[in-house]
Symmetry: C2
Subunit: 417 residues, 2 copies
Amino acid sequence: MTNMIRAEIITIGDEILFGQITDTNTQWIGTELTNIGIRPVRKSSVGDQADAILQILNEAHQRADVIIITGGLGPTKDDITKKTLCTYFGVGMVRNETALALVTSFFEKRGRAMTDLNRAQADLPANAVYIQNDWGTAPGMWFEHEGRVYISLPGVPFEMKHLMSNRFLPKLTEHFQTPIIKHKMIRTVGIGESFLAERIEAWEDALPDHIKLAYLPSFGGVKLRLTATGDDNDLLDWELAEQVQKVMPLIEKSVFGFDNDELEDVVGTLLKERNLTLGVAESCTGGYVSAQITKVPGASAYFWGSIVSYSNAVKVTQLGVQPETLDQYGAVSEETIRQMAEGARKALGTNVGIATSGIAGPDGGTPDKPVGTIWIACATDQRTVTRLLKLGQYRDQNIQLTTTYLLNMLREELLNI
Amino acid sequence: MTNMIRAEIITIGDEILFGQITDTNTQWIGTELTNIGIRPVRKSSVGDQADAILQILNEAHQRADVIIITGGLGPTKDDITKKTLCTYFGVGMVRNETALALVTSFFEKRGRAMTDLNRAQADLPANAVYIQNDWGTAPGMWFEHEGRVYISLPGVPFEMKHLMSNRFLPKLTEHFQTPIIKHKMIRTVGIGESFLAERIEAWEDALPDHIKLAYLPSFGGVKLRLTATGDDNDLLDWELAEQVQKVMPLIEKSVFGFDNDELEDVVGTLLKERNLTLGVAESCTGGYVSAQITKVPGASAYFWGSIVSYSNAVKVTQLGVQPETLDQYGAVSEETIRQMAEGARKALGTNVGIATSGIAGPDGGTPDKPVGTIWIACATDQRTVTRLLKLGQYRDQNIQLTTTYLLNMLREELLNI
């Protein structure tokens, strides 16, 4: 892939190095660049020190054709990206009147007073092509320097995404002649990475050189990513489809979707297709299952609601769980989870009810019910299925895994209807 | 800071470059290193290509005293970290019997068959000090080479964290003589970065050279991070406390906590102190508010439950919202949000009820109620307060911001009780 356009993504900020904020930008940028056939070859984070920034810019210049820089454009003293870019390009700072007008109107619209710090956000390196940011006061900037393209973006994710999607990605596709990279993702759930690998080894070994396979483990599932590189868009699509067709029979049962499908999207589609409504009863997951389901725009078409019954009282009053059942078997039991799932259907008036009850940890474990002991259930008008999960000791992980297994249980039940 | 121990963190994997998984490891490692006085100077991600890995190792060798490498230790063909480390160190691969015994017992315990791929996980570069991973089959490895320390860790977050916390961090503190870095974080909510900066400018300018300030904007709030460097632990603590004392009067109203305090922790503590219970009614946030509250271990002491009333029917049947109110004012109205918050108190039998109802988007907006129109409310035995939020067009962001503003409303109400 000699004529491949190489990209380096640089995030600037001590807060990233020191681990005080989560960097979601580089992941998003990596995806978007890959989709337009530009290959990220390096991601780097450096601190808010001019020398560190100059060093990485010089390195990136050796490695990459396009260098994308996020962060350090805020109004405050610790943001030094623009100053440092001036040094790097050997230019001065100039106040950009278009940028100033935007900053001014931004504050007028909100009826807020503008400070000198805000005005200074309209000062740009002299060689910058100013790219308007519709969502904030930090500018987007495009530079061309010694045969490389440099893009400077604000670190605030939604401002960065808006600028990239609407301004810079089109500009990049226009500016570069890029080969085509195509990805196909197969999403599996409930099977371990090495077992998946054993099952598809022969197929993997037979893949042509221009199609690469990667295993991407995530909570409760493994993503299989096929990457094809070439010049013929339709041919690549056809080749990827052919490979998927070959491997599917080996793993059918474990596959819940493709590409960006998430379990919550898949179950949403299945519910809509079957014209069914969903109600949820959550104990140990504390609302996380519902939050995942309602991540999907338009979920209101099939999701009617949820009862997060963290206390036993609420299990009884809202879900109609029998007090005797709680006394005799406890909240973390097959008897209780069954009544919770069926209670969710009744109380919320839905066709399907799903439920979770368990010990997420770190406390509350007992010898016979250690932390990670979690029951899940799915109730339809035909039957109620239950399952006992024996998970680990980490609260967050238990909540996420339980949600994944419950949504997959729901998916499998819906496929039987 | 000449005698500062410098660290470089390297993550290996095409999936990170291509943006197909979220890298949470480097953030966590950055925090932990900083806390033991080792300064991260660079974070880098490279793909699963030997030449790219060798290049970054050579660069890191120039920059850092300790080089921490995560990922590429999986059982599958695309994981080449160990092979590449052999090339870099100029050593061969040796099967480690201790590692093999662990892998074997790992599979025996789970009653699962072991594959050759799994056995190969016990093969290590000859110069590796084997560090046992209690949570998986990928090894931890410690190398000393030309005056540098190299640490290789699996990419699976909970395995990596366990190895770092229990094995490598103690080993690093023992191995290096490090100066002391102290952080103090002031957490604010509901005030913009530049306004905060204006308000504390004089104080910021008067900070001594060895104490640095950074603004870390996050959803609905800004973190102020003070970083002090020196040799006297107690003195640094005292100096940081003194600076906090100086700045607090300027921003008191906007400060909800310090360091790792999250709003959900703070409201939890306030509820416990006041011996009050909390019930939630969620519409547009779809369970996210409850999920945030139950992130806190032991939340069951004050959180009794939540009713996610996504459909109007559930608002009526479960929360007792008047059908007339819904007909006359709609679900997104002050009248409805008031009844939802008060209904949560009644239905869940709690002292306090909080509620959300709005249009999260992307669809469902109208001229008079555009996407981002969201009502929140907090009901106690004393009064019910409501607030109209006018947020943006992004669903995820609207859900997160609404949750932040609602938890802060709850915090302010609890402070009045």
